[in-house]
């Protein structure tokens, strides 16, 4: 906050506290014409209900003064008076960081112990996999689904089809560094007829029915335009994240329309990197959990 506002807040806060002190002093004074202790005040309700002056004990008044002293002490130690942060240097951010630190100190050793085992061994450890599932539900299920079977555009992790490879190391690398998959739009290069032909060919690759003439023409175009990434045999390339087109698994939709759209407009897939906020050890356990899904 600006210096001017900060000064205003400080003056306003202190004026209120001082004001409270004078208010309490003023209201604690006996005024002229007021009833003495134990006497009727003269107020009458409902005809016969009278009010006596029954004073509070004096220590009760001290409690008010103690709150005033407390508030001043508080303002010295904790942030409250404008831009002044208090002599303790306390802040919410610091509290948060301290708690993260404490949690890491508590749970870090558990994950560190797991990270010393190989991913294949961890995948068979029932207890480790329960912890892995909890991590998965926290960090991964939002996109890949609670059952890890994915959704449109988000790969199914429980099958044996892998865009970037299904080896333990490849999975861990995907988690730590993330992946950026790009299928470039081929609409302009292929033209209207070309798109139909390539679509027909791609469908036959998975054993689906399509016009054989179109498919035959599409095969020629595929070898020129698509094989550089997807391979001559269309089985994909894990180094590029190019999909295997022969297994009847469709990340962006299986219908003919969806395939046409994929070829025409291209697709972009982003798996964000998790190294910074998960750390190596948790990523190791998560990789083991994901590995266990397809290697039972």
């Amino acid at each position: 906050m600006s210096t001017g506002l900060s000064i205003f807040v400080i003056v306003f806060t202190l004026a209120n506290i001082v004001g409270c002190y004078f208010l309490i002093r003023w209201s604690g004074q006996k005024r002229q014409g007021e009833a003495a202790e134990g006497q009727v005040t003269g107020h009458t309700w409902d005809g016969d209900l009278q009010e006596y002056n029954n004073p509070l004990p004096r220590w009760w008044l001290w409690l008010f003064y103690i709150t005033i002293i407390f508030s001043l002490v508080y303002l010295v130690f904790y942030p409250g008076a404008g831009n002044f942060q208090g002599v303790l240097g306390w802040s919410q951010e610091q509290r948060y960081n301290d708690e993260i630190k404490a949690a890491n100190a508590d749970y870090g050793p558990i994950f560190a112990a797991y990270s010393k085992q190989s991913i294949q061994d961890l995948a068979k450890d029932k207890k480790a996999m329960q912890a892995g599932q909890r991590l998965f539900l926290n960090y991964c299920a939002t996109c890949h689904g609670s059952d890890a079977r994915g959704a449109k555009g988000f790969p199914n992790l429980s099958d044996t089809d892998w865009l970037y490879g299904g080896s333990p190391d490849a999975i861990k690398t995907s988690i730590l560094n993330g992946r950026n998959g790009i299928m470039p739009p081929m609409g302009a290069a292929l033209g209207g007829a070309g798109i139909d032909e390539v679509t027909a060919y791609v469908m036959t690759l998975s054993g689906r029915e399509a016009d054989p003439n179109f498919a035959e023409a599409g095969k020629q175009r595929f070898q020129i335009l698509c094989a550089s990434c997807h391979g001559q045999d269309a089985k994909g390339n894990p180094a590029l994240g190019a999909a295997n087109l022969t297994d009847d698994i469709w990340l962006h939709g299986r219908s003919r329309g969806a395939i046409v759209e994929t070829i025409t407009k291209g697709r972009t897939g982003v798996m964000p990197p998790h190294r910074d906020f998960l750390g190596e050890d948790k990523a190791h356990l998560l990789a083991a959990y994901v590995y266990s899904l397809s290697n039972k």
Binding site: G38, P57, R58, Q133, D147, A151, G253
Partner: protein
Amino acid sequence: MKTSSKQPAEGGGEFYEKHKKVYPREVHGLFATLRVTGVLTLLGLYYLLPWLSWEGHQAVLFDLPARKFYIFTLTFWPQDFIYLAALLIISALALFFFTTLAGRLWCGYACPQTVWTEVFLWMERWFEGDRNKQIKLDNAPMAGGKFLRKSAKHTVWLLFSLWTGFTFVGYFTPITELGQAVLQFNTGPWETFWILFYGFATYGNAGWMREQVCIYMCPYARFQSAMFDKDTLLISYDEQRGEPRGSRKRSADPKNLGLGDCVDCTLCVQVCPTGIDIRDGLQYQCIGCAACVDVCNDVMGKMKYAPGLIRYTTENAMQGVPTRILRPRVTIYITLLCAITAALIYSMLIRLPLGLDVIRDRNALYRETNEGLIENIYILKIINMDKQAHEYHLTVSGLEGATLLLEKTDLLIDAGKVVTVPARIRIDPVHLKKIGYDVYFTLTAKDNSALHVRQKGRFIGPLNR
């Protein structure tokens, strides 16, 4: 006892009064015996319960970190919090009922403030003697004898308070382990804080604050008086019989002297723990402890008068009108009290040690499989609150043609464990007649079909089928 004449000149002074210490005189009699019985029973329960064990665990343990409350054979989970609400409602109704029937019974015999103050009074009397000696001691200058007595009293008070704080924490953390930790000065920060805090509160409230808690702080004290009516049993001074008061020889006939039965010995004022004079009529400070009844009956006996100059009676009885016990408010309170208590007991009896939560995945409304089938994904949390492991069987109903697919085939769950199971409901879209359906998951224990729960979930399909 009017003290206003001894006060310094009024006017211009503070609006707040200086606290005057109350020295209640020791009293014996029927109601004192009742209170002592109450004190010993309640405090006995408080101090001993945490030391009992039951089926391998502490009999009464409120395990906050594990979120499980053990009370003998029962184990309560956070899901059972409704029982606590019911218990609080029952407590409130019981307070209303007994207060309407016989005044501030709670305050006089059972309230922790009363119970601990009573014990602290006993300890005070060990070292300082009864009322008169205490007053004399307080007026004496601080010298060796007084200092010894005072410090001995405070030492015993503090030790008892710390034991109280220790016992309190022992309800939340296993008390035998806590005991060892205390002996080694090795308690955790929160344990230390609560032992000291609760100990300090006991010392302050029962040693120093005493009646001031009832008079200035307690909200119950204020509203309980509002529950009285003309048929409520209250501690009252029989003014017609007692007045005019005055001292007389034991042999004298009061009628000849023109006096009532009150000998104006002021013992009723001396025994009062809140320092009031019951002869001034019903006052909000009166906690209904009946100490004045006991002491006055004693005096009446010595004077060979009939007892009961101060007694439990109703306003109607005082005026010669018959007292009605079963009046509408009493009937309503007792009916409600019985109904809710019965409902609580019934629901505890049919309570099943099994919980099921169905949480639908929100990242995608539905999933279309390669075969063109529609799937919804759920997280099922199965809570086995029983003391033994069970294997469960899960079915789904409410959607024709739906198949339930589980990531785990064996639903064998250990005692006291929560297991998270992802589940899918799969359906051919030809069966879908509308966008959304309510579906019902039923979980049944394989070894006991009576142990089953049903939970509602939602299935959502595509708009264009």
